[in-house]
Amino acid sequence: MTNQSERAIRSILVLGGGIVALSAAAVFARALRGVRVELIETAPDRAALADRLAGTLPTVHRFHSAVGLDEGDLVRRGIATHRLGSRLDHWSADGEPWYHVFGDHGLPVGAVAFVDLWTRARREKRALPYHRYSAAAAMAEAGRFVHPSGDSQSRLSSFVYGLFLEMEGYRDRLRAAADAAGVIRRPGRLDGVDRREDGFVASLSLAGGETVEADLFVDASGPSAPLIRAVGAAFEDWSAWLPCDRVVLERRRNPGGPLPLDRVRAEANGWRWSAPLGGRSEEGRVFSSAFEKAGGAGDAVRIRPGRYLEPWTRNVLALGDAAAALDPLHACGLHLAHSAILRAVELLPGRDCHPVELAEYNRRTVEETMRVRDFQAIHYLRPGRGDGMWRALAERPLPDSLALTLQQFEARGRIPFFEEETFDKESWAQALIGLGLAPRRLNPLARAVDSDRAAAGMERLAAEIASLTGRIPSYRDYLVRMAALPAKPISSRPGA
């Protein structure tokens, strides 16, 4: 025998009452043979946004394949609809709406990036809005959807999409997946954390007097984060960069039917979103209590943006809002949880949770989280609006990594590289341009392409993309064609 049998983790205990906890338990149980995975289902926490928001990013597919869920099945059951991205209104100085989608914009010419050609054309006043050069954005604008084409020559091949999830139905599917994978699942309430002499968690005491032991404890219990705090992880507050601390979330009837995008509207002291799912829509409002003292805040959930410095500390792994609480903007919460779960199972350390093994997990997770924060923070810290809270935010200092991004973009339209980047260069360009930021100088590389020739190519491309959407079915028809819409629409329920 080798050291593997002494080193391997034999039992994992997951604590939490939401989607993140179920997701983690199901993935661990499916991936690891001979490991006991137990889930203590606690009462859901309303402030655990990763468990509650319907929007996801394209990483959801990788997670689904790891957990054994099928997109077609979820769509046919009325649990999932497709999400190309967002339309953002009132975020820019000129009031123009913009789009954020997960897809290519334009085409590079030789080694010259499209964004450089577009920036030049705009200066020459012969560029359409940036999103007009993206097939995915054109579909989003028209409220239409098709799956990406497998033919790399097609304009409709170079985008990806996330999903909107109806959380009640989705939770049932995840439960079934967890049960099938052998997760031992039962309700419970945490009463106390018992630590060993070396600071590791030895066991949890549950209400009713029971004690549960494990090699590894997963804290997926939302922002209260009792386990990761018990092992001494320190919290870093991000409210200077993500100033909104209140979220109101509700469900409404959605007579308009589903759409493959959400709408995100900025207002004086925050913003609202609306995500049209199948039978109903998710409506959210986000604001800063420092600027908006009252006003429909009765139902608001308090959030505190920030993160634990080491989301994996000793034998406690924090996931979801227990690891980092982000802003709801661009639906990143569940994405970060998915990514962390898949990384955790890939980098699963030995039973001793040696620091050198945890370091790699923490390095990558933290960098990923910080770049998501940066992407959200740019919307607040360099806003297109100058009213209400925005005026006070516009001059705040940026985190270093975001300052570098902004400096490089403003200097020459370049987006610097980071290792664990959720939002790729296309995403960053859409946001920076959408918020009204612009390079001060043209990238000198663009001079390699003749300006008239580039403009003519852009005109052709925009016309081609505009004509595409006419040939694409409406989203409702597409779902019908997928035989996906249930005969009876899902009944609307009051906000969870």
Partner: protein
């Protein structure tokens, strides 16, 4: 000083490989934004023993629009699939660090974890036989990789072994035909701007004065602009990489098929290279002068030659380390002027190419922006630190105790970053992940396993599959690799067929 809209005047100092690579790439990518003026001196000569490259050079050749076969003919190049290391972990051991991966992932789990599990369960197996590049090298066969990522034939890459003394002149004729101005002369003075401290002009012997907005220092070890003029501090790494001299001597090619790989053989006071080109074999002994004398090194390399020497042994001196920053004010140092890492993993030309690529991406659009320089330096730091650790590993991961040199490197303190990487690997066969830069997981796996560091454990997910089914899947994979390689032409034959051989093309 050029304002935005005008052409920037770039002055490249130095006409070696670095200088001509920089000048060529700048004129190719930014010819509409800058003029390029290269200053070189025949008197000074170039180091030019760098004959070993990494696959990145393919993209450089491609991005200039050079014809690969012509480039190979002009530089007597052969194809290179990796580097064979002999006697590094222990005398008698050898392994080949391939340009390519080991096996194929199963369920998103890296292949070597399955291999490790089965060997722990008693299977006698060599991971290297699941590497296309290894099997091709062993059989001395070559054909270019497939672009189809689902094909087994896409799991390797290649570089060139070439005559570096011919690469610079080849690029020179290419670049001067595309507008790079060239001046012959020796720098006698560097003129600084009194206010900003920027370099304003070079003064050459014969009274020539060459002004510029941006200066690319490719002056080699002298580091005339960055080191001597701007005084950028030197960070010394010779305590980790003690080799500081090399003695080089080419010899005649032996009969038989040319090896599509380079060989590095560990020696008592360092190691020696063997690089098979079309027309000769390049050899050199890289050694530490505090552990072995020049004469002993020269005797050892001459004794090791497999055929008659084609020239007198030539001696080179260097020192491992780098300038703290590579871009300071309006001076960007590229190549040896910015730092030196010994040629054990053929990184010199790669570092030149990487710096030039970064310079193009961050090319000033007026006065140099400090933030651009900082970004360039941040990227350069990452490159150097990773390569440094990877090189040190080759020395440190050894059981050798047969000379004072090996005793020193085996027992020395290594950088914390490397110590942690080795510990991480030992625990469960994992390699810290990054996507930017050089030497990804397969490279680290090759050196760790090749030099005898077998991890204690593996990815726990690898336990899920049935052992017997896994074993037969691995055997099938190896069979497919052997079949694919058997269908490939021999290296020499492919050189002739592709038109890369100096002797002409065969159909």
């Amino acid at each position: 000083m050029a304002t935005a809209g005008e052409k920037q005047k770039v002055v490249v100092l130095g006409g070696g490989t670095a200088g001509w690579m920089a000048a060529s790439a700048l004129v190719a990518r930014l010819g509409d934004s800058c003029s390029v003026h290269l200053v070189e001196s025949e008197e000074i000569g170039i180091v030019g023993v760098g004959e070993a490259t990494l696959p990145h050079l393919r993209y450089f050749v491609e991005s200039l629009g050079l014809d690969e076969a012509e480039f190979m003919r002009e530089t007597s190049a052969t194809y290179k699939l990796g580097i064979e290391f002999r006697d590094f972990g222990r005398i008698g051991d050898s392994y080949l660090h391939p340009f390519g991966s080991f096996g194929t992932d199963l369920d998103g789990i890296h292949f070597h974890h399955f291999w490790r599990r089965l060997t722990a369960e008693g299977r006698d197996d060599d991971l290297f036989r699941y590497s296309m590049a290894n099997v091709m090298s062993w059989r001395r066969r070559f054909q270019p990789p497939s672009a189809d990522p689902s094909s087994l034939l896409s799991t390797y890459n290649y570089a060139y072994q070439f005559d570096a003394t011919r690469f610079g002149p080849y690029l020179r004729s290419w670049a001067t035909a595309r507008g790079v101005e060239r001046t012959e002369g020796r720098v006698v003075d560097v003129e600084l701007d009194g206010e900003s401290g920027d370099v304003r002009a070079l003064r050459l012997d014969g009274g020539i004065r060459i002004e510029g907005d941006l200066f690319v220092d490719c002056s080699g070890f002298r580091s005339l602009l960055l080191g001597q003029t701007l005084g950028e501090a030197w960070e010394d790494w010779s305590h980790w990489l003690p080799c500081d001299r090399a003695v080089a001597v080419p010899c005649a090619s032996p009969p038989g098929v040319i090896e599509p790989y380079t060989t590095a053989t560990a020696m008592a006071g360092g190691w020696r290279w063997r690089i098979p080109l079309q027309h000769r074999i390049g050899n050199g002994y890289v050694y530490s002068s505090s552990h072995i004398s020049d004469q002993a090194a020269q005797d050892a390399i001459v004794a090791a030659l497999e055929s008659e020497p084609l020239a007198e042994p030539r001696m080179l001196r260097f020192r491992a380390g780098r300038r703290r920053r590579s871009w300071v004010r309006n001076v960007v140092a590229v190549g040896l002027a910015s730092g030196f890492l010994e040629p054990l993993e053929s990184t010199s030309i790669y570092l030149v190419q990487g710096a030039v690529t970064q310079l193009i991406e961050l090319f000033p659009t007026g006065r140099v922006d400090e933030a651009d320089a900082a970004e360039f330096n941040r990227r350069t730091d990452v490159e150097y630190d990773r390569i440094r650790d990877f090189l040190i590993l080759h020395y440190h991961a050894t059981d050798r105790d047969d000379s004072s040199f090996w005793n020193h490197v085996r027992t020395m303190d290594v950088p914390d970053s490397l110590r942690e990487k080795m510990e991480y690997w030992r625990r469960a066969g994992r390699v810290s992940k990054y996507t930017q830069g050089l030497f990804f997981e397969p490279s680290w796996i090759a050196v760790y396993l090749g030099q005898g560091i077998v991890p204690d454990g593996w990815d726990q997910r690898a336990d899920r599959l049935d052992g017997a089914a896994l074993e037969s899947a691995m055997e099938r994979l190896h069979g497919r690799i052997e079949d694919a390689v058997r269908g490939m032409p021999e290296h020499d034959f492919f050189l002739r067929r592709s038109g890369a051989a100096a002797g002409g093309t065969v159909q």
